[in-house]
């Protein structure tokens, strides 16, 4: 049993670590979060293999022979064993909780030179405002690479949830409140803004795009968007999907 368990643990650990669980990481939070997730997986494999191995071993090794009407050994307990399996899980969960807390503080830390973006959700679209850029209002979310962003999120109607899987950030949008979330995009590309809180009939189609671009391109986009806003007198049209 011990040999099979060790093999299963190794195979299982390799398997779960090799699987590409997450979408491409595009923010500075993705690294620590993905690592934390992998770290959580390892003891998980160990525990699962342990439980599975004992069940299978007992079912095979101690299986009643046909016609065996006897009883098993009258073992009522073992204080030593009980102390062991209270203390070890306690230590494990404490360690994981501390690690999680450290990562949380790290990814939520305030940064200098933060770009503020107001996010306003409604059934069933997202609207963005850049208050420091002359209140530029847009349906397109464009962000400069490597600059910390603070999203200030709210909603016009019901609960929604502002989620960019590639950034690993999510916050619900609550009427009457402004929720905040910080992220530093660090990879250029085009990613999804997905609504993650049931908001009605259009919930599953409430998705838009976010683009992370080099700082020069961001300035260019911003200037062009402001011009469009002045001439057209409204918001820039949503990006084609």
């Amino acid at each position: 049993m011990v040999l099979y368990s060790v093999i299963a643990t190794i195979v299982g650990t390799v398997l779960v670590l090799v699987i590409d669980w997450f979408p491409t990481g595009a923010s500075t939070a993705a690294g620590p979060i993905d690592l934390l997730y992998d770290v959580l997986l390892v003891p998980s494999v160990v525990i699962f293999v342990l439980v599975m191995a004992v069940v299978i071993y007992c079912a095979v090794k101690f299986r009643a022979k046909p016609g065996d009407l006897g009883d098993g050994a009258p073992i009522h307990g073992s204080t030593r064993l009980e102390i062991f399996w209270v203390t070890v899980p306690f230590i494990m969960v404490t360690a994981l909780a501390v690690y999680g807390w450290v990562v949380l503080d790290d990814i939520e830390a305030k940064q200098p030179n933060t770009l503020i973006v107001d996010v306003r959700a409604q059934q069933f679209a997202w609207r963005f405002t850049y208050p420091d850029e002359g209140n530029l209002k847009t349906n397109q979310l464009v962000l400069p690479k490597d600059r910390p962003v603070e999203f200030r999120v709210t909603t016009n109607d019901v609960l929604h949830s502002f989620w960019v899987p590639q950034f690993r950030l999510k916050t619900d949008t609550v009427p009457g409140l402004t929720t905040k979330i910080r992220v530093t995009p660090n990879r250029e590309g085009r990613y999804d803004v997905v609504c993650a809180e049931l908001c009605g009939i259009g919930h599953s189609t409430m998705r838009q795009a976010v683009r992370v671009v080099p700082p020069g391109e961001f300035s260019a986009w911003r200037a062009q968007a402001k011009k469009q806003q002045k001439t057209v007198g409204g918001e820039t049209p949503p990006e084609p999907e």
Binding site: I19, W21, P23, A29, P32, I33, L36, Y37, L40, S44, F48, V51, V55, C58, A59, F62, R63, A64, L69, G70, D71, G72, A73, P74, I75, H76, G77, S78, L81, E82, W85, V86, P89, F90, V93, L96, A97, G100, W101, V103, L104, I107, V158, L159, S161, W163, P165, D172, V174, G176, L177, V194, C195, A196, E197, L198, G200, I201, H203, T205
Partner: protein, 633 residues
């Protein structure tokens, strides 16, 4: 009986008559109140239907006979001497009336809840058919949203919570040596409130605007703004909740006061401990969900502003109140299952449950800790951020008492004499699958991870591992284990094993991949999804259909065995607990002689050890004289 007689006696004729009367009362109340307040128009159907949803179920309960004795007593008329004619089933028809026998009520619960399980399961099949491909194929998004909302509500309030109550209702008085529950009439009322709740939920599909479609969580302000179908949910939950609370009170009083002589708390079987602790959870927590739904109902129908932000309402308050119940609810849905697993494993491994006292203490620890973790459902809700870390800590701590139980069951298997019967297979399947669900639960407790996976299919995977691989596996284990006791017949063991293996394999093929699509970015409660998830979803859907089909094996086994299975002995599992010391099915009042408990419930391996004795010499165990006759041809 004459027609007039039928209409006056408790039963279905009178229940049918009660409906138009209830409708007219509701109509009168609404129109009258609107006239007094000078509202125009006098006839507002939303308002009328809201009151009808309360009045008709109550009228039904009066009509079918749940309140007859109390009304008579309250009126001051001399009570009719009890002739026990309403106690025990002598034919299958008795199961359709108000009956005070806990064994009848237990079976009523189990059959009724499985009916709703099938309804909820069929809804899941439609959902998976829709999700097999991106785009819309079978149901529009609004219908889809209604399907998953009703699916979850039925499974939680009309299946898992009450089926455990039903199994416990049947088994626990027998297990403690009692002739019935402490409050048999209240027990009957508890049962009858259940189908009323379920019918209300199913009826919401016929409401204008469709079924309630805000999830079983019904978050405000979406739930205060949606069409009338939502009100069906808010009121159905009240009936289901009242049923649950009344049953829990009954269990608490029964377990505290009616144990056989010699049965101290530390000689109670763990199923009794499990239902005792569950009942504590129910009576403390359930009023909170009632409250949360009353807030929604009042905002919808009486113009209050609990969740109206424009009038200083507080939207997050809904979630705090709702989850203050709904987290303990998941323990309500699991603890009785833990009790069942202890009974099944000890009997089928021929060994005492390892660490009996710690098993009882860990149940109590889960009850206490279970009240301290609710906001882990709200990590990304926008609530005050300092609450998150304490909730992460308490959530992770609750793994410790749960781990104690898993390890204790493993130790119970060790050096046992293992009989891989169907109930034992389900108990072993539970241990492994619940461990997986617990592992994903630990991952969900770690805030940086859950920020990403919250509201995704990772959560859907987790909940189904703990609720199906966890709770429902224990329900199957319990049904198979006590089937001979309840029906007097043995189920087919080969079909039982087939049911187990089909369920186990297709359950994992259905819900395992959901972990992957969730982390990869697929949100939950969506009628449609991005192209990249298409392959996984079609695999999941096909597996789910096979998973659904596996249930038919169970149904077939239950029906044919109940009708034609071989007669069961009093104690086919050679177990020690008291329910097995009477015939299968038991006599109408359970024990012809009250047993005396002289030892622990799991004294396997000790020659000559017994749990309970009958001190007088008694005659051979008679063939079943009550309980569950086979369904008539």
């Amino acid at each position: 009986m004459t027609l007039a007689g039928r209409l006056k006696a408790p039963g279905w004729y009178r229940a049918a008559l009660s409906q138009p009367i209830g409708f007219l009362v509701a109509l009168g109340v609404v129109v009258g109140a609107r006239a007094l307040y000078g509202y125009d128009p006098l006839v507002d159907w939303d308002a009328i239907i809201t009151v009808v949803l309360i009045a008709l179920p109550l009228a039904f309960l009066v009509g079918i006979g749940c309140f007859d004795y109390w009304f008579r007593w309250a009126s001051g008329a001399p009570t009719v001497p009890e002739d026990h004619s309403g106690h025990g089933a002598r034919s299958w028809k008795d199961y359709f009336y108000v009956n005070t026998d806990h064994k009848v009520i237990g079976i009523q619960y189990i059959v009724t809840t499985f009916f709703f399980f099938i309804a909820g399961g069929l809804m899941a099949m439609v959902m998976r058919a829709e999700l097999a491909q991106p785009g819309t194929q079978f149901v529009e998004p609004n219908t889809y949203n209604g399907l998953f909302s009703v699916h979850a509500s039925l499974m939680i309030f009309l299946f898992i919570i009450p089926v455990f109550a039903g199994i416990a209702n049947y088994v626990i008085p027998l297990m403690i040596g009692a002739p019935d529950m402490a409050f048999p009439r209240l027990n009957a009322l508890s049962f009858w409130m259940l189908p009323t709740a379920g019918i209300l939920m199913l009826a919401s599909f016929f409401a204008d605007g469709g079924a309630f479609a805000t999830g079983w969580t019904a978050y405000a302000p979406l739930s205060t703004e949606t069409p009338l179908g939502q009100t069906f949910f808010t009121i159905a939950v009240q009936f289901a909740g009242a049923s649950s609370i009344a049953t829990a009170l009954n269990f608490l009083v029964t377990i505290i006061t009616m144990r056989a002589p010699g049965m101290t708390f530390w000689r109670m079987p763990l199923l009794v401990w499990a239902n005792f602790t569950t009942s504590l959870l129910v009576v403390i927590a359930t009023p909170f969900i009632a409250g949360s739904q009353f807030f929604v109902l009042l905002d919808r129908s009486l113009g209050t502003d609990f969740f109206n932000v424009g009038a200083n309402g507080d939207v997050l308050m809904y979630q705090h109140v709702f989850w203050f119940y709904s987290h303990p609810a998941v323990y309500i849905m699991m603890l009785p299952g833990f009790g069942i697993v202890s009974e099944v494993i000890s009997a089928n491994a021929r060994k005492p449950v390892f660490g009996y006292r710690m098993m009882a203490f860990s149940l109590m620890a889960i009850v206490v800790l279970g009240f301290t973790v609710w906001a882990h459902h709200m990590f990304v809700s926008g609530m005050f951020s300092w609450l998150r870390v304490p909730m992460m800590i308490t959530t992770m701590l609750i793994a410790v008492p749960t781990g104690i139980k898993i390890f204790s069951w493993l130790a119970t298997l060790w050096r046992g004499v293992i009989h891989l019967t169907t109930p034992m297979l389900f108990a072993l399947g539970f241990i492994t699958m619940f461990t997986l669900g617990g592992i994903s639960g630990i991952m969900l407790a770690v805030i940086p991870v859950v920020i990403h996976v919250s509201d995704t299919y990772f959560v859907v995977a987790h909940i189904h591992y703990v609720l199906f691989g966890g709770s429902v596996f224990t329900i199957f284990a319990g049904i198979y284990h006590w089937f001979p006791k309840m029906t007097g017949r043995m189920y087919d063991e080969s079909l039982g094993k087939l049911h187990f293996w089909l369920s186990f394999v297709f359950f994992n093929l259905t819900f395992g991949p959901m972990h992957l699509v969730g982390v990869d970015g697929m949100p939950r409660r969506v009628a449609d999804y991005a192209e990249q998830f298409a392959t996984m979803n079609v695999l999941i859907s096909v597996s789910s259909f096979l998973f659904g089909l596996s249930f038919l094996v169970f149904l077939y086994n239950m029906v044919t065995s109940w009708r034609n299975g071989p007669k069961a002995a009093a104690n086919p599992w050679r177990a020690h607990t008291l329910e097995w010391q009477v015939s299968s099915p038991p006599p109408i009042f359970n024990f012809d002689e009250v047993p005396t408990v002289v030892g622990g419930p799991y004294e396997y391996g000790v020659p000559g050890a017994v749990h309970g004795v009958f001190k007088e010499k008694r005659a051979a165990v008679p063939a079943g004289g009550g309980g569950a006759p086979p369904p008539a041809e």
